[in-house]
Amino acid sequence: MTERLASRSAADGAHRTLLADSVTAFTGRGADIARARRLRGSSEEYDRAAWRRMAELGWLGILVPDTHGGLGLGLPEMGIVARGLARALAPEPLVASAVMATTALAGGGSEALKREHLPRLVAGETVPVLAWQETAGAWDAASPALQARPLEGGYRLTGVKRFIAGAAQADVFLVSALADASPALFWVARDTAGVRLELEPLADGRQFGTLTLTDALVSRERVVARGRQAADALARALDYGAAVASAELCGVAERALEISLDYLRTRVQFGKPIGSFQALQHRGVDLYIQKELAGAVLDQVLEALGEAPDAASRAALASRLKARCSDAALRVTRESIQLHGAIGFTDDCDIGLYLKRALVLAGWLGSATQHRRRYVALSSENGK
């Protein structure tokens, strides 16, 4: 058995290295952020052609079973892609669409929807995102206020979803709602009558969408999941989203630290590189420790998450991860500005873009404080 495990992990290691290499190649030797700079603040937010290339590389299907055209891999692989892309601040909605919406659809009960849409999603032809949140800071997705009233052949949806990441070019929203006092998930095309999308800017040049549904009619065939299954699919999607967002936070922290250490090696004051001052050496080391700590939790949790025995332990793991990675990335990027001096406070200097990305990733899908809380609540329930 140990032999089988060993050969499996060797195979994992090999394909993961290949995957990491292809991400590095995709982002122009790992950290070309020219594209991110060009796209920030634009209404398209990201590049649909880049999204299709990501599809060709198979990344959009990492979490999709091979029976539906995906690669049937797991979170560790998705983490490799997310971390690598985040180093280059790639603006494509990997977490929002290829993780969260995909997980919600794949976890739903409608085989027809899966058969029809998962392959299109893997191919980058349809870009769905999850519209679950209604109030700021609300992490509990189980009881949405958005109402789905049954009618002949379907439902009539009324309510508002906010803070939808990846909404800019999404063509479908997976909308959570309350139908007959029980949770449900709907597949709502963007051009459905009664659906209005507004976009608001974010610190990192991307946007949050606000989706307003006013008596929007959705047919019964477009119900992704109902009841317990809907709640489970949604909870899993949020946990996976938080986990892969944590991989992005790691990539952001890692790259920001590299940039800062390079700066410490080259910037000269008082006749020597500022990296020769012990005060700054110690800061560099402290940030390095944060980054390593976050990376260690990331590897462990991404490996364990897919095999968590139950929803509570899965959620506890995701929370532990998101708390650490948010704190680490915020600290690394904030202090990186300090290490740069005034130039770090300019728009031209890349380091600021890393801070802004860290801010958004840390504020989205639950802050460190919220996740620490949830972790304790869940793990004490489990008697751990």
Partner: protein, 382 residues
């Protein structure tokens, strides 16, 4: 001219409160970024007409000549009402320098206009390769007949594009130790050969600038104090600048927002939040105690020693802790630019956060302040 010191402290405080409440532009209350000149012009005029532009200046030059207790009352009332500082480097920096080191002619020429807002000043110290190591600055001023010719480049010059004049340090002697060859100049920004180029900052605003000097000819009267005395002149101001920066005002405004947002979000019912809130609130109140001690010392006319560095460190780092928490309680809205509405409470989370970032960089970075404390206060070897 009114002698404000003749009023009782209570009357003066009431006067200040009523003045701010009735005259200060409501849209500029508790702003968490730097106010621009065009926004503050009107308010400047009102202060000027009341004779309140320069609380620290002596009355003979149009200041209030305010005594310690009333100065504190004035600052407290400003804080209470959320009054922002106008671009006031002329009042806090150049004015005192000219009074102390300038000629009679320089005083007559510059002080009244500085008070009225006719002259707006910016500070040209830093250069691309002279930041923390300011003394290594390379901009040169060479005497040619009865002019100085200035060449070089300044950077990070805040609000240079709003200013009419710059005060700057330039090298006037290359043969001596680097600190000993620097002089202090005041230059009209309209002088031919000066180019100003704004730099976009992290918050997306164009506030600090590059200022280029290409064969800029200024009269001998542009020199303030003696030739090669510039370093001492600039240093004389540093401790006052640190006192000014160390005022609890900025973190106070951020805390004010934090309280409002926390109330709107119902966070005071949450013991976890209350503890974190209490920690920053006390950091701030205790900062006020530390600050008060230094203010008293300054008002007694005592020189402020290197200990003042700790005030700057604590004030700026407290400010950052408050804004870190502010962004966090903003949740998703905390990472959305512009004024956000949290259950009716308005807050600009990101500007608050962004503007607290460089506070540990300018005016002597926190690392440099710690070096100073280690060396001159703790007297550690090195």
């Amino acid at each position: 001219m009114t002698d404000w010191n003749a009023m009782s402290d209570e009357d003066f405080r009431r006067e200040a409160r009523e003045f701010f409440e009735s005259e200060y532009p409501p849209a500029l209350r508790y702003i968490l970024r730097r106010a621009r000149w065009h926004e503050m012009k009107e308010w400047w005029r009102k202060l000027y007409e009341k004779g309140w532009i320069a609380p620290n200046w002596p009355r003979e030059w149009g200041g209030m000549g305010l005594e310690a207790g009333k100065m504190v009352a004035l600052l407290e009332e400003m804080e209470r009402h959320g009054v922002a500082r106008a671009p006031d480097q002329g009042i806090t920096q150049v004015g005192p320098i000219i009074m102390q080191f300038g000629t009679e002619e320089q005083k007559r020429r510059y002080l009244p206009g500085t008070l009225s807002g006719e002259f707006i000043w910016c500070q040209g110290y830093s250069e691309p390769n002279a930041g923390s190591d300011l003394a290594s600055l390379q901009t040169s001023a060479i005497r040619v007949d009865d002019e100085f010719v200035i060449n070089g480049q300044k950077i990070w010059t805040s609000l240079a594009d709003d200013a009419t004049h710059i005060y700057l340090l330039a090298r006037t002697d290359r043969q001596v130790k680097k600190q000993a060859g620097i002089s202090f100049f005041i230059v009209n920004l309209q002088t031919p050969g000066i180019t100003i180029r704004p730099i976009r900052n992290l918050a997306g605003h164009e506030e600090f600038c590059q200022v280029f000097f290409d064969e800029v000819r200024v009269p001998l009267s542009a020199l303030v104090g003696q030739l090669n005395e510039g370093w001492n002149i600039a240093k004389a101001l540093l401790s006052f600048e640190r006192l000014n920066i160390g005022s609890p005002r900025r973190p106070q405004y951020a805390l004010h927002r934090l309280e409002a947002v926390a109330r709107a979000r119902g966070l005071f019912a949450d013991p976890g939040f209350v503890d974190r809130y209490a920690a920053v609130k006390l950091d701030l109140e205790d900062l006020a105690a530390l600050y008060g001690g230094f203010v008293e010392q300054a008002k007694r006319g005592e020189a402020l020693g290197p200990e003042i560095s700790m005030l700057k460190i604590w004030a700026m780092e407290t400010w950052q802790r408050v804004t870190d928490l502010l962004v966090e309680v903003g949740e998703e809205q905390g990472v959305m630019p512009g004024v956000q509405d949290v259950a009716g409470v308005k807050a600009d989370f990101l500007n608050a956060f962004y503007y607290a970032r460089p506070a540990t960089i300018y005016g002597g970075s926190s690392e440099i302040q710690r070096n100073i404390l280690a060396k001159y206060v703790l007297r550690l070897p090195g």
